[in-house]
């Protein structure tokens, strides 16, 4: 069903584009522990791609490989049709890949506005001297980027906390601010590590809506990790299922849901 065609239409009528990122035979070890074992999958433009699996399956490790925080011992990462050399996380970010973290990594001492502004750093080009002296170009750039940030803040409905220091915010709002910072970077690919972990039902619904809206309005490709099967089935176009570092399923939600290996992994069948 999923060939290398440039685009196709999913079961619920959404158009998915060409392959944007491809993970080829990725293996990641920490000393003797194998976190990811020979996994391949692709991400297509405009889709919401979920990675699911039980605790310790290697989902976060996979996201860290994509964002350059971990470097796999074997395998290749292909991005936009070219093999990506080993990159530091900040270089990956500069290629248009933004991310959020499972345990929220915000700048606690800074205001919401400042946090979101850091997402624009790579779009600000003026050199260090003109920044220090602050003449025209730097000032214009600041204003332009500020406008983008305000749009993101409006979009995620966090206007009321713009000036609040992040450390004072409740958990659910912090998650939203982190998403705002990632969005401000205007990413081609957005990586979300358990965006709904620890949220109540209402917050989860809000977050789901935001993720769908982001994908819908900006056409942002999203890779997300999530525990909540219900949420994953509602949100995603295609799902990769991992268990013990291996890929045990890959396809549209309905197909994956009925996959025997997936059912076993989630219901906890004895491994022999």
């Amino acid at each position: 069903m999923f060939d290398q065609a440039d685009s196709f239409i999913t079961a619920d009528g959404r158009t998915i584009g060409a392959v944007m990122m491809e993970m080829k035979n990725i293996t990641l070890r920490f000393g003797g522990v194998v976190a990811i074992k020979d996994i391949s999958f692709d991400v297509r433009e405009g889709e919401i791609r979920a990675i699911i699996g039980p605790n310790g399956a290697g989902k976060s490790s996979m996201l860290n490989v994509i964002s350059g925080f971990y470097h796999p011992q074997e395998g290749e990462v292909w991005y936009k049709g070219a093999r990506r050399p080993e990159m530091k996380p900040f270089e990956v970010a500069r290629q248009g890949i933004a991310r959020t973290f499972q345990n929220i990594a915000l700048f606690e001492g800074m205001s919401v506005l400042d946090n979101v502004m850091t997402g624009r750093l790579n779009h600000m080009k003026s050199g260090i001297l003109s920044q220090a002296i602050w003449y025209g170009k730097a000032e214009r750039e600041e204003t332009e980027n500020r406008a983008v940030v305000e749009r993101v803040i409006d979009f995620l409905e966090i206007q009321h906390i713009r000036k609040t220091p992040v450390s004072r915010l409740p958990y659910g709002l912090k998650k939203r601010v982190e998403l705002a910072r990632a969005l401000a970077a205007d990413p081609k690919l957005l990586l979300l590590d358990e965006p709904m972990a620890g949220m109540n039902v209402e917050e989860k619904e809000d977050m789901s809506r935001f993720i769908l809206d982001v994908n819908d309005e900006f056409g942002t490709t999203i890779v997300l990790i999530e525990h909540d099967m219900g949420v994953v089935m509602d949100l995603s176009d295609r799902v990769v299922v991992m268990d013990y570092g291996k890929k045990i399923g890959d396809g549209p939600p309905d197909e994956v849901r009925n996959n025997q290996a997936v059912i076993d992994a989630y219901l906890g069948v004895a491994h022999d």
Binding site: S67, F69, K88, P89, F90, E91, A93, R94, A98, R99, F101, A105, L106, F107, E108, G109, M110, D114, M117, T118, G119, L121, N122, M124, S126, I128, Q131, A132, W134, A138, E142, R181, A182, A185
Partner: protein, 333 residues
Amino acid sequence: MFPDQFLFGVEVLLNGLMAGVLYALVALGFVLIFKASGIFNYAQGVMALFAALTLVGIMDGQVPFSHLINAIFGMDVHHFGWHVPAFAAILLAMMVMVGLAWIVQYFIFRHLVGQEPIILFMATIGLAYFMEGFGDMMWGSEIKKLDVGIPQGGSFWIEEATAFLGGSNFYGFFIDQLDIVAAVVAIILVVLLVAFAQYTKQGRAMRAVADDHQAALSVGISLSFIWVLVWSLAGFVALVAGIMWGAKSGVQFSLSLIALKALPVLMLGGFTSIPGAIVGGLIVGVGEKLFEFLIGAPFLGGATENWFAYMLALVFLVFRPQGLFGEKIIERV
């Protein structure tokens, strides 16, 4: 008319404030690096010495490593024979400090990312002694005079303007012009640093790195670049401190010991606060001068300035370990 004793006390207070500004200048360099990278830079004092040596060397047209060159090639060169104007020499010295920042980052701290604070601290001790020796080798170890054109000696207009306050034995407040210049420069420096951190792209990135490394990486900030930037800024602050202290008491080894005076300032102000470094510096400066004047000299036989600052810091450590402006330390159990 005020009694002479009171006026003398006020003069002590004013001079204490001026001395405090100079302490604050050194403490500022520590805060910059500690905030952004968690490194307590023991070498900050030596950096001030090295910066001052380099500045004098450039101004006098000294040949760097002349001893080495003469010994190896059997030559006898010491000076190029030119003199560089102060302003140009300061710019050149600043470029040397940026180069030093780059070397420190690429040859030392890049390899120590994620190490224990004590290891980083040890590395800065090694760096301090290396730079001390390297500075000697490069520019020679004799005491040098630094004259960048800052006026010295008592300020006559302050003396004249205040002479009326006391009786016939009072000639007005004696305040060294160098101290006034140092205070003005320090205030400008702090305003510039705060503005840079608050309102520029690099400043924002700097604050981001100080706050959370992982998050900073994820928004595309290069940690190495920011650390070179921070070490350059600390080098700049060291240069300014080196100029002020060097002009005051000559460029010599003891200049590097001002770092030790910055320690109590940091304990008072907190290791992570730029305003803290300033206020801490002022408290130490005023405190030690007033204590000597009011208690030390009349009752304790004098020379209390040597230990008063550390004593005060110790008291602070007991009651407020994070300093006046430091981030509160909360340990979750």
